[in-house]
Symmetry: C2
């Protein structure tokens, strides 16, 4: 390791998530400016040469978690309506509430989501929603890395209006955030069932031209497959292949309802998949064939989906669910081991979003997105296997320190970048208004009759 | 409410879990000695008349969670081996480690489990393992309510030796703990595949004579069903019905592999079921037909199972899993709503263990097992529906105060009853020894080759 560092994290088990899944006991990570300078044994560094030293206190030092799919600002509506049919949920609850969305509300929702994500060890999130410029601003404020894109569909948007303006807005985002160290822009058509072939093709062209991700909901439910087959005579994936929009830049979110041919197409085009098991369970969509996808060589990253369909943004809980659900579905306990799942939440998630050259592992030259986990807690003692502990036993609250792009954005569980109480106050005001819309019965969460 | 109280909890949303699932906004709970004196509106109590006042700070006041099935002392082996075939796990890891178990180790393991359970809002647990007298002592030390029973099977036990001594040991436990305010004893034959019909019948007689629960693993896997059918020509449940050991005192744990006839038998005999979804997923056992059981009128309580097959004792995560897994399995989002799941973790869990006259809800005259949840956190703001928040968004760490039998055993997340650091130190010593047994490779958690 070199002689001097801006930041040195010492005294922890370093889980690198490099290509060998290397673990360094009593390790250290040195950071210079926004970059990881070295990763190695604690014995090889001298804390006296560091401007700032963070003591991991015998815990775990690892890459920040990467959430490949969410709708962060839906924190405004979390728990507003659950355990009901999708159409009741959308028509009676979500659409009326979203009709009153504003740029300010999206900003507040995203900022509170950034707080939750940071507090549970996520350092980068991929977001699809309305008023995404406000989401990018919230990420910038919170010091979080983000991939954001305005949702595009055939009908008018409460933000930009007609689709033509949606593409203009997206190009505006690309231009505005081009040089930002944390914010990346993506092209985000909602889905093959809400976007006509022309829209999808135009989005794919834009994605190719700028070499940035195109992020789309694909085959979330079997109902969607039915609809798409009725309309185009093809499954959603086959339809997208047919119109030529499958590419290595495409992130297909959910992919619950795939057949063997779909999996082959996704693999052949090196399409990336965002796997959201908790949302798929909660919305009764089903169980994505992830073991088959991995077997086919497809890159799969984990995501929480939005807080109304999960209902939290905790990637530790998502890892736990991902590791378990496929065992239950296949009756094979070896089908999805802890190392594989941790890769899906770190390096493979970064690869899904096309930024694995920058983040996703602790390796020299990568951006310093690092979290520290306190293992001195009853549910983490003793520790025989660090991967098992991270996937099956730990929770977001065990994260004590979060560093993003070299900046400590959380230390000792305190957020350092913004006034959380102010964001909470703003959110309470939004909630008052949402409640009034529903003539609220607090006990059941249902409208009063 | 009456004039003076030993303890008053004020300024929270009271979730009673009484038969109407009543919720009281800005409510209070008054405690006299070990008993709930009154539950009602905060406006009706005068804090000046209470010896001690706990401010819920606008959070949630609710009954403590009841874990209907665990093997607490397996904290000694958590994460020792995961993601492998059951027989590899048992023969190469668990059995060699358990062969070195002692009463002291079981005590330490149980005490650390009590810490974890208290810290995540569980106030009562039901335990099956070896050296259960030590588990009862740990519960007593930690101030936790417990139902404990020594595991009985056909072969010799590392604790008591031959089965004859096992029954003697169980009768000793019954006698010793008879008057204890927190500890209840149960009869716990392991399973119909490790217990001959005579053992099961004798256990059932003992359970009837003392009117205490008989707790048994039943139909955990389809493999078990196969084995039992080969041996007795009947499914595990049908076999147990055939030898006359089904009763309202029987707690059948897991019940993953039931057919329609089994469900009918369980319902007809008012057998109680402990549902352990996370363990069933992680061990690739499958998904218990809980919606069908509830439809048949069966009382189902939630449990975590042991920390080696989960791998934590957090009932909040168990609730989340229970609410979601059945939606994924049935593709019906309405099949297991949040209220139903919260009942399975409180009042129905108490009923499963035969102690719903004492605990499981906040009602006048019941024992004061109460938890307080801090909702002033990003992932819990805003709150539209308290049940949704508890099941889908909250985690064990959100619990700030735990009262058991009128005694605050945790306040501001600090355990009050015992020296946690001492227990941690003792556990680290045990782990050193377990590691030496396995010639440990810390990275993979596998034996070095």
């Amino acid at each position: 390791m070199s002689e001097s560092h801006d930041l040195l994290i010492v005294n922890g088990t370093v889980v690198t998530m490099d290509e060998d899944d290397r673990v360094i006991e009593n390790g250290a990570v040195a950071v210079a400016d926004d970059t990881i300078e070295s990763v190695g044994s604690a014995g090889k560094v001298n804390p006296k040469n560091a401007a700032r030293v963070i003591d991991a206190n015998g815990g775990i030092i690892m890459p920040g978690l990467v959430n490949t799919h969410t709708h962060a600002s839906m924190t405004c509506f979390r728990g507003l309506a659950d355990d009901m049919e999708l159409m009741t949920w959308l028509n009676d609850y979500i659409f009326p509430a979203e009709a009153k969305l504003t740029r300010d509300r999206v900003y507040t929702g995203a900022l509170l989501a950034c707080a939750e994500m940071t507090l549970s060890g996520t350092t980068c999130f991929s977001d699809m929603y309305l008023f995404e410029d406000a989401v990018a601003e919230a990420a910038d404020k919170a010091g979080m890395r983000a991939v954001v894109g305005e949702v595009l569909y055939d009908f008018d948007s409460p933000n930009y209006g007609p689709i033509e303006k949606g593409f203009e807005y997206t190009e505006y985002l690309i231009e505005k955030w081009r040089e930002h160290p944390l914010v990346n822009i993506a092209i985000e058509p909602h889905s093959p069932y809400l976007c006509a072939p022309d829209l999808l093709k135009r989005a794919a062209d834009l994605s190719e031209r700028h070499n940035i991700p195109m992020i789309v909901h694909v085959a979330e439910t079997w109902k969607e497959v039915e609809t798409t087959k009725e309309r185009y005579g093809l499954s959603p994936v086959a339809h997208m292949a047919n119109i030529g929009v499958l590419s290595p830049r495409l992130v297909a979110c959910h992919c619950v309802a795939l057949d063997k041919n779909d999996i082959r197409l996704v693999a052949d085009h090196d399409v990336k998949v965002s796997h959201n098991p908790e949302s798929n369970m909660k919305l009764a969509s089903g169980i994505a064939p992830v073991p088959e996808m991995l077997e086919a060589g497809i890159c799969v990253g984990l995501g929480t989906d939005g807080p109304t369909s999960n209902n939290n943004l905790d990637m530790f809980m998502e890892m736990d669910a991902a590791a378990k659900i496929h065992k239950a579905a296949t009756l094979d306990p070896t089908v999805m081991d802890a190392v594989k799942v941790l890769r899906m939440a770190t390096i493979d998630a970064a690869r899904t979003l096309g930024i694995d050259d920058q983040i996703g592992s602790l390796e020299q030259g990568k951006k310093a997105d690092i979290i520290v986990i306190d293992t001195n807690k009853p549910h983490l003692i003793p520790m025989y296997n660090v991967f098992s502990h991270l996937v099956y036993s730990a929770c977001g609250n065990d994260v004590t320190t979060v560093i993003i792009n070299g900046m400590p954005v959380m230390t000792d569980r305190q957020l350092t970048m913004f006034d959380l109480n102010r964001a909470i106050k703003d959110m309470q005001d939004i909630a008052e208004d949402v409640r009034s819309l529903h003539d609220w019965d607090g006990r059941t969460g249902q409208r009063a009759r």
